[in-house]
């Protein structure tokens, strides 16, 4: 009785091992099952989804105009103090003072890509870009100025 159980245990064990080895052998011989992407080599054809959060960018049109009114909603929404907005006062043609964006400072090294600033923006002036390769040689390069030099607010955006 003991011997019978012992022998059947041994055969069962060998069978279970062979079953696993069969699966391993299948993947070893079927190259089409390999799904590894050769990352640095496939940079051209690699496409990230549109919603992927890489970094915050400010949208500029061809006339170098943006939609940021300097309302600081994104600055208040940010949990980490990633965004700092410096405003200035523009003169309107009627001679009135108007608050406008001077500098949009973005600290990439503090950003956790939580998307709350994009949600908070009332004029859709900023969005998430798909760039994820953020390595630089000096840490100060990670503090970015998002509005381009000489850019101004698009007309009609309040």
């Amino acid at each position: 009785m003991f011997l019978k159980k012992y022998i059947s245990d041994v055969f069962g064990a060998v069978r279970s091992l062979l079953k696993g080895m069969r699966l391993t052998g299948y993947y070893f011989t079927h190259r089409k099952e390999i799904i590894t992407q050769q990352y640095p080599d496939n940079k051209e054809e690699m496409k990230l989804p549109e919603r992927f959060r890489g970094e915050v960018v400010m949208l500029h049109d061809e006339k170098n105009e943006h939609a940021c009114t300097g309302c600081t909603a994104c600055e208040l929404a940010c949990p980490n103090g990633t965004i700092k907005i410096i405003t200035k006062f523009d003169m309107t043609p009627e001679g009135k003072k108007k608050k406008a964006l001077d500098t949009f400072i973005y600290h990439l090294e503090l950003c956790t890509m939580c998307n709350l600033c994009i949600e908070a923006c009332p004029t859709d002036a900023i969005k998430m870009a798909q760039n994820f390769e953020h390595s630089v040689y000096d840490r100060s390069e990670l503090t970015k100025k998002l509005n381009k030099p000489g850019s101004k607010i698009r007309e009609g955006v309040e």
Partner: protein, 371 residues
């Protein structure tokens, strides 16, 4: 003062496992007292990755504090966010649109699948099988792609906002999820073939790390750890939130109480998650994905508690509000901490080689324990 290394007066050997040991899945530090090869005592030392998340949340607004909880249990980050959003909604009495509810449950179950897949690979690697790790990551990649497309991130999604979800589903979502279900139904059978029936794996798991139902309750274990001992503790069944009350699924329990029982509970849970997703994927109601909320959220004065079932067990969020824009105090009840407290009880009397298998079946995520 606890002796950390050397021999005790009784001639027992004290050794350290971790904090930089690969099989502890992070910076867990265990001080083990051994008599020969038999474990006499296991003492976890915590605090290596403590970031004081609870204190941090006190200075963040009710929209902002949700993203921090992704950094606790990073494998079921979406479910953690869900618990926080539920608690804020409870306090504000926000009615969540039906579409958002279904999207949340779908994402929860996908997260649970991804978490269990990674656990399965890591668990098999802990007991010495290297190949399953790569199998698990291949299937997890499919879920990550779905998450990336809809939520915008792969691990720390931050897709939940009080009142719904951040964005609508991606147009390809339904197609991709159906494809994934078909793909994963065949693969989960492969999992069984490769590991579950394997004789070496079975002898490493069966009868190891016994936890009785009584001690599971008294140590506060939840999730698959307690259900492996026959304790019914699934929050989705006991206190249904969102649409879980209307779904057909079983609470998986096993009575063995050993490592193999906990393993089988998680394997069956993967199948249950698949069936939940199948029930919902064709029945996503139309409508808003986010309720209209005020720009600044203020919780009324009082105390609020909500709980969800993560991949590891019960996750509770307890908010005390003084009526302002930030919480007065937040307490998170994380499942990993209570499950870890039972480790000493489970490991006593077993050999040191079994300790890694017991830790594997607890499915520990260290940032969840330390917070």
């Amino acid at each position: 003062m606890i002796q950390e290394v050397g021999t005790t007066e009784q001639g027992e050997l004290v050794i350290n496992l971790g904090p930089q040991h690969p099989s502890t899945h992070g910076v867990l530090h265990l001080v083990i007292t051994l008599s020969g090869e038999t474990i006499k005592k296991v003492e976890p030392h915590l605090g290596y990755i403590h970031r004081s998340i609870e204190k941090m949340c006190e200075s963040l607004s009710y929209r902002q504090f949700i993203y921090v909880t992704s950094r606790m249990d990073y494998l079921s980050s979406h479910i953690n966010n869900h618990g926080c959003a539920l608690c804020v909604e409870k306090g504000m009495q926000i009615e969540v649109p039906p579409r958002a509810k279904v999207i949340r449950v779908l994402m929860d179950e996908l997260t649970r699948l991804a978490s269990h897949q990674l656990w399965w690979g890591a668990m098999a690697m802990d007991v010495g099988a290297l190949t399953p790790f790569f199998h698990a990551f291949r299937e997890r990649e499919a879920i990550n792609d779905i998450m990336e497309e809809t939520c915008g991130a792969r691990l720390t999604m931050n897709y939940m906002v009080p009142g719904g979800v951040m964005a609508d589903l991606h147009p390809d979502f339904q197609k991709k999820v159906k494809e994934f279900i078909r793909f994963f139904r065949t693969k989960i059978d492969e999992y069984d073939e490769l590991v579950t029936g394997n004789v070496i794996f079975k002898s490493r798991m069966e009868g190891i790390g016994y936890l009785s139902a009584e001690s599971a309750v008294s140590y506060g274990c939840t999730g698959p750890t307690a259900r492996g001992s026959g304790v019914s503790c699934d929050i989705r069944k006991l206190y249904p939130y969102e649409v879980y009350g209307q779904l057909q699924f079983e609470e998986v329990t096993a009575t063995g109480g050993d490592c193999f029982a906990r393993y089988m509970v998680r394997m069956q849970e993967m199948r249950q998650s698949l069936s939940i997703i199948e029930q919902l994927i064709d029945n996503i109601p139309e409508g808003e994905f986010q309720a209209k909320t005020k720009a600044v959220l203020k919780l009324p004065k009082g105390e609020f508690y909500s709980r969800v079932e993560t991949a590891r067990g019960e996750f509770g969020v307890y908010i005390i509000s003084e009526g302002g824009t930030t919480p007065y105090r937040i307490k998170f009840r994380s499942p990993g901490f209570s499950n870890l407290s039972a480790l000493d009880h489970m490991a006593r009397g077993y050999k040191i080689g079994d300790l890694v298998a017991i830790m594997g079946t607890l499915d520990l995520v260290i940032p969840d324990i330390d917070r």
